[in-house]
């Protein structure tokens, strides 16, 4: 028997990270079905469980990523796969081209302005204001924009993902309260405020909502990256 060597193998093998990730997600799905609670979104439950696991067993995030990266890799192909619901809804997209275009540009604009101004008013310094500005865009874009703004990419990554998780948990209920009932409007709003994580939730609400969220995620990323470089310096003065 060689306990230490076996544990060391486990710690550095991708198998552990993959098993913990998929297992935590399975528990998240079970909890979601069991409680029927909006709050118990599988992604949120799984993130908390994996973080707890890493904390309890004192595993570094870098070691976890040896396996976790295999799961995260599929996010790229899954984003490409969003073209399929989008294609199915293409007739609706064309019919609503103007509301889609205007809604996304307005959404990206108010997201950037409100992020910077709210941080300004509540006493956040300029670095935080710049780091928060691109948070509505999907993570790789928001991080790239944080770099061009000379902000803190790590902070941008955190707020971007929290904005996404918030959307996955709360966006459908908030939109219901605000009486936004049209599936096209709901999907576009979720994709504009909560990018891919919101899209994952919208897909579960309805295929049409998911398709418009996917479209909105892509176009909002484009709109945000066109708006941020000139708008943020104006807001900071």
């Amino acid at each position: 028997m060689n306990w230490a060597e076996s544990v060391e193998w486990l710690r550095t093998s991708p198998l552990l990270g993959i098993t913990v990730t998929v297992g935590a997600y399975a528990i998240g799905r079970w909890l979601h079905r069991r409680t029927g609670s909006q709050l118990a979104q599988p992604v949120l439950v799984a993130i908390i469980l994996v973080a707890l696991f890493l904390w309890v067993f004192d595993v570094d995030y870098a070691d976890y990523l040896i396996g976790g990266a295999y799961v995260g890799f599929w996010l790229g192909p899954a984003t490409v796969a969003l073209a399929i619901p989008l294609h199915r809804e293409w007739g609706h997209v064309r019919r609503h081209a103007i509301p889609v275009g205007v809604g996304i540009v307005v959404g990206a604009f108010v997201s950037v302005v409100s992020a910077v101004l709210l941080v300004q008013w509540s006493g956040g310094d300029e670095l935080i204001q710049r780091s928060m500005a691109p948070k509505a865009a999907t993570t790789p874009v928001s991080i790239a924009l944080a770099q061009t703004l000379h902000a803190q990419p790590a902070l941008t990554a955190v707020v971007t993902i929290v904005a996404g998780i918030t959307g996955a948990v709360a966006a459908p209920a908030v939109l219901r309260l605000a009486r936004v009932r049209d599936e096209v409007a709901r999907g576009l709003a979720i994709g504009a405020a909560s990018h891919g994580l919101g899209t994952a939730r919208a897909l579960q609400e309805s295929p049409r909502e998911g398709a418009f969220a996917a479209l909105s995620m892509g176009l909002s990323a484009l709109a945000t990256s066109l708006i941020v470089p000139w708008l943020v310096p104006l807001l900071l003065q």
Partner: protein, 122 residues
């Protein structure tokens, strides 16, 4: 299924390559999604039961799973934000709410306006 997966991976590959080649301000997979959409629109085939749809189905069904590793990374970073929690949380959730509601309302109103006009025209 496998051919569909190859098509998806090829679209991502092309997207990642083109983004770097042209210096586009978009993630490679998002451009890959546009390529895939273009292919589906040109082929005009039924995307519900095709090879690509079969390969895409499990990825889309469990999209939430794929965000878990990145999400765990931010939990690790959260502890470093304690000093500035007020402006960060206010800016984050305030702006999230504004972005969500303004987009939802603007699109709702515009859809009504354009549907109304179309209705009058016909």
């Amino acid at each position: 299924m496998i051919l569909g997966l190859v098509a998806i991976l090829l679209c991502q590959l092309a997207g990642e390559f083109v983004v770097r080649l042209l210096g586009l301000p978009l993630p490679g997979p998002v451009v890959g999604m546009m390529f895939m959409l273009a292919i589906l629109l040109i082929r005009g085939a039924d995307s519900r039961r095709g090879r690509i749809a079969t390969a895409a189905a499990p990825l889309l069904k469990h999209l939430q799973l794929l965000f878990v590793p990145a999400g765990v990374g931010i939990v690790v970073l959260l502890s470093e934000l304690r000093d500035d929690w007020l402006p960060i949380s206010l800016g984050l959730w305030g702006s999230w709410l504004v972005g969500l509601l303004v987009t939802g309302w603007v699109v709702t109103v515009l859809i009504k306006v354009f549907e109304g006009r179309r209705g009058e025209g016909s």
